[in-house]
């Protein structure tokens, strides 16, 4: 059996959670004050994910950077891989919110999408 300490992020209370992971993979959460804490603890212990927000280069807009995000949470341990995969990506204006910038990031099956409207600059 493995034990892990977590801090709940669901509300400002910030409960200290203890997660007990049984041999069979079952997870028990203690220290939480509400159901949300339990759900968070289980997810964070078994399959933590993060939405990654970053930028890629853009040509033809007012500014040289375009903000993007993973459409959904990706596994936490894939975050850096995601950033690296976007290193050489450069798009061209115009771009709309929701446009797919990278179809399948870090083998997660999740796309990276634009989070900003960038019109083509006349200059």
């Amino acid at each position: 059996m493995e034990e892990r300490d977590l801090v709940c992020i669901c509300c400002p209370l910030g409960c200290s959670l203890k997660a007990k992971i049984e041999e069979n993979g079952e997870v028990h959460i203690s220290g939480n004050t509400c159901k949300r804490g339990e759900d968070y603890g289980k997810k964070e212990t078994t399959a933590p994910t993060r939405i990654v927000t970053t930028t890629v280069r853009i040509k033809g807009g007012v500014l040289p950077a375009l903000s993007v995000k993973t459409q959904d949470g990706i596994p936490k341990n894939k975050v850096f891989e995601c950033i690296q995969a976007l290193q050489d990506v450069e798009v061209e204006a115009p771009v709309h919110i929701g446009d797919i910038i990278f179809a399948d990031i870090a083998g997660t099956g999740i796309p990276v999408i634009a989070t900003k409207e960038v019109e083509k600059c006349m200059e």
Binding site: T55, A65, L86
Partner: protein, 482 residues
């Protein structure tokens, strides 16, 4: 072969350059920093002293009083901000009143006009926020405030417009006596010249000792300051000094010519000639001392603090210690010192410039330049312009309607002008000192990215190459994900 090379583009070097440019001479200024006004001249009280506190007969007394008298016309000719707001010296005890009288007598001996003693009531009436502890004050109506950056830049620009060559980013490494004068070796090559002027500020001893056997020692005397928001700018209208003595050397409280409130300086001799860091101790001292002059010094309004180094003449064989050293070195003909220029150096600069220039011109039997341009156009200033002037500037160039620094109301037009003019800005601090962009309450938080962009475009550089003050002071370290 130059006729004169001036080492140092601070206020002294620039004043000398400007005065020399009235003569038909080939002149250059060598400056190690990336801009003029980067040493002592950029971090001081910005005071044009009356001239009462230097010992009668000293060079400090002589040049201060002369310089003070010249400042008015100079500020009109060269269009830099200067205001005669008057100075007050406070005493907090009865015995001090006698010392105020002595100071007054000394000032009169120095040729300072209009000195008078104010009693407590007169003082309180003149300055309502003055400390209740103040018993009396010496009033020097000729005392004034000036923008030290603009004074220095005005002198330098006018010199350049009259043919003086400025070599920035050029550090003097050695001086060698030659048959006809001197060879100045720098990190950018050598320069031959008939005469040399040493206006190297805290490094004037290093330069002097390269050619003279009569050794000089200049100590960097650090002074720390706090600058308060323009909201506090009207807290006092005069420059408020204290009698030197019980409370140590004078911490003053003064409005600046741009309308901020300034408190400082402390005084501490240090080894490092580049040691312009502020200290917790220094801040504490200066606020405590400044707090004695006025009731409730508005310290919550502090927007920045800084430190400058005075070039204090610590040792020059006795006689001239503590005074300016101005003149030809005994054992180095053609080598002129303008050294130990600490307070009242800013006030004295125009007079020192005139004196040194005339001496050198006589030595070189120079002729006056018939087409000397006496006037220099000041920097455009939207914040201080009236509506008509604002409209005129905008009509000239709509960039004057595009505000970059909102705290100080500085526009793209002013920033472009600061870059494009003679001896224009090449760094973020250069822009700041010329236009005040970034000098306000947010301290460049909002405007620096925009200013950097304009600088890069105008200078044909990538924004990654733009520096704060030249050298390795790059603002950005690379691209994302690099």
């Amino acid at each position: 072969m130059y006729d004169v090379i001036i080492i140092g583009a601070g206020v002294t070097g620039s004043a000398i350059a400007r005065e020399l440019s009235k003569w038909q001479l080939r002149i250059a200024v060598l400056e190690k920093a990336s801009d003029v006004c980067e040493g002592t001249s950029k971090a001081n009280s910005g005071i044009v002293h009356g001239g009462f506190d230097a010992k009668p007969g000293s060079l400090k007394a002589k040049f201060n009083v002369l310089g003070n008298k010249m400042m008015e016309k100079l500020s009109q000719d060269l269009e830099f901000p200067f205001k005669r707001n008057g100075s007050l010296v406070l005493t907090f005890d009865e015995e001090g009143k006698d010392r105020l009288e002595e100071l007054k007598k000394q000032g009169e001996e120095n040729g300072v006009e209009g000195l008078c003693i104010l009693n407590r009531e007169q003082l309180k009436q003149l300055e309502p926020h003055i400390s209740d502890e103040a018993k009396a004050a010496l009033c020097a109506p000729t005392g004034g405030i000036v923008c030290p950056f603009h004074l220095t830049m005005a002198l330098a620009e006018n010199a350049a417009e009259n043919g003086v060559e400025f070599f920035l980013n050029t550090k003097v490494e050695n001086l060698v006596k030659t048959e006809n004068g001197y060879k100045i070796e720098t990190d950018k090559g050598s320069y031959e010249t008939k005469t040399v002027v040493n206006a190297a500020g805290v490094y004037a001893d290093v330069i002097h000792n390269m050619v003279s056997g009569k050794k000089m020692k200049i100590v960097a005397r650090k002074g720390e300051y706090c600058l308060m928001d323009k909201e506090a700018g009207n807290y006092v209208s005069h420059t408020i000094f204290q009698l030197p003595g019980v409370y140590g050397k004078g911490v003053l409280v003064t409005p600046t010519v741009h309308g901020n409130l300034l408190a400082g300086p402390t005084a501490e001799d240090i080894e490092d000639k580049e040691g312009i860091d502020t200290t917790a101790q220094g801040m504490e001292t200066l606020l405590a001392k400044g707090g004695k002059s006025v009731e409730n010094l508005p310290t919550r309004q502090i927007i920045t603090s800084f430190a400058g180094l005075r070039a204090h003449m610590a040792d020059f064989g006795g006689e001239e210690d503590d005074d300016f050293v101005i003149g030809e070195a005994e054992d180095a003909p053609g080598f002129f010192d303008a050294a130990g220029i600490e307070s009242p150096g800013l006030s004295s600069a125009p007079a020192i410039g005139e004196y040194v220039a005339e001496w050198i011109a006589a030595r070189l039997s120079a002729k006056e330049k018939p087409d000397f341009k006496e006037k220099r156009k000041g920097m455009p200033n939207m914040a201080e312009a009236d509506e008509e002037e604002r409209k005129r500037l905008i009509a000239e160039d709509p960039a004057f309607a595009n505000v970059i620094c909102r705290c100080e109301l500085v526009t793209e037009g002013e920033i472009l002008a600061a870059i494009r003019r003679t001896l224009g800005a090449t760094t973020l601090d250069g822009i700041k000192r010329r236009t005040r962009a970034g000098m306000g309450r947010c301290q460049a938080g909002f405007c620096s990215p925009k200013t950097v962009e304009i600088l890069a475009e105008e200078l044909g550089k990538d924004i990654g190459e733009i520096t704060k003050t030249g050298g390795e002071s790059r603002l950005l370290t690379g691209m994302n994900k690099a």
